[in-house]
Symmetry: C2
Subunit: 145 residues, 2 copies
DNA sequence: CAAATAAAAGACTCTTTTATCTTAAATTAA
DNA sequence: TTAATTTAAGATAAAAGAGTCTTTTATTTG
């Protein structure tokens, strides 16, 4: 798996929040966990991390929940991925070897870094706004149902 | 991590065996585990799988060990990856969603399948022969040392 | 044949990831 | 100001991945 489970949940949740963000009210984690079919407490932890990283803002108490901390068009999926999984995927060797690299590349290296960069590019060119808009237009579901 | 630890070990071991394959004698797993700095018993398990999958052949007893079951130029790194990790990486959705796909793609889908295919291409165009030759020429190490 | 060697097989341990459960803290609204 | 609501925090549990250890089986060689 390229992204951890926690990370894919974080991306799906971020897209869900972006989608709901016309209504200015906070998005309930409980509702979201029901709709996305993600364990409430597990999701809560992931969102706490996104809140700590400044991607989401949260509010306790009745009518509380979460919101995007910035505008959806200023948050990329890469931001979410980096907040949860870090940059391991974009820096690691595909063979798991430490200490080698561009100076003395193996035959895999040059191809590998293009794949790696393409992956990063993919995440960095998609904003939450654009992606959730497209998902809505195309009618794609964010969960199993 | 794109490949499991077991899978990267399997690739490194296969390349090691390919490199040693001028000497017609069996390659000792013990020696290999020492040189590659991989736990002997863990490596043994991985190699058993490669043997079961018809990529390696083994021989018990004194002077025993393992050999490539086919010629090194007829085994690709993809063969080794598929034998150990299966085709998950090349078939899974990057967002972990089941049931959606090309019929109703999300904005990520089209880019994702090119990345996925590029990854597969990378593994499938490298044979053990070519890769181990290149590694030898370039003096790349297969382990931490 | 007996002893030594080396892979095969399987039980077991440790770590990380994923998931659940409980309690605490903050906020709202009656 | 009290009760209800909702996120925060942290302990615990289950599952998967990674690694270790022991016993068995096959083979070679003296
Ligand atoms: S040179 Fe090869 S082994 Fe080294 S980091 Fe690059 S891909 Fe990995
Ligand atoms: S359409 Fe999007 S969510 Fe569905 S499989 Fe493709 S990348 Fe994954």
């Amino acid at each position: 798996m390229v992204l951890s489970k926690a990370c894919t949940y974080g991306v799906l949740a971020s897209l869900y929040v972006a989608k709901q963000s016309e209504n200015k009210s906070y998005v309930s984690i409980r509702d979201m966990s029901n709709e996305l079919r993600i364990s409430f407490h597990f999701l809560t932890k992931i969102l706490q991390k996104l809140t700590a990283e400044g991607i989401l803002q949260s509010h306790k108490g009745p009518k509380g929940g979460i919101l995007l901390a910035r505008e959806a068009r200023n948050i990329t999926i890469l931001d979410v991925v980096l907040a949860i999984d870090g940059d391991k995927v974009f820096t690691e060797c595909v063979l798991g070897l430490p200490g080698c690299g561009s100076e003395r590349p193996c035959p895999m290296h040059n191809h590998w870094i293009t794949v790696r960069e393409d992956l990063r590019e993919m995440f960095s060119t998609k904003t939450l706004a654009a992606t959730s808009d497209d998902i809505r237009e195309l009618g794609l579901r964010l969960s199993i149902e």
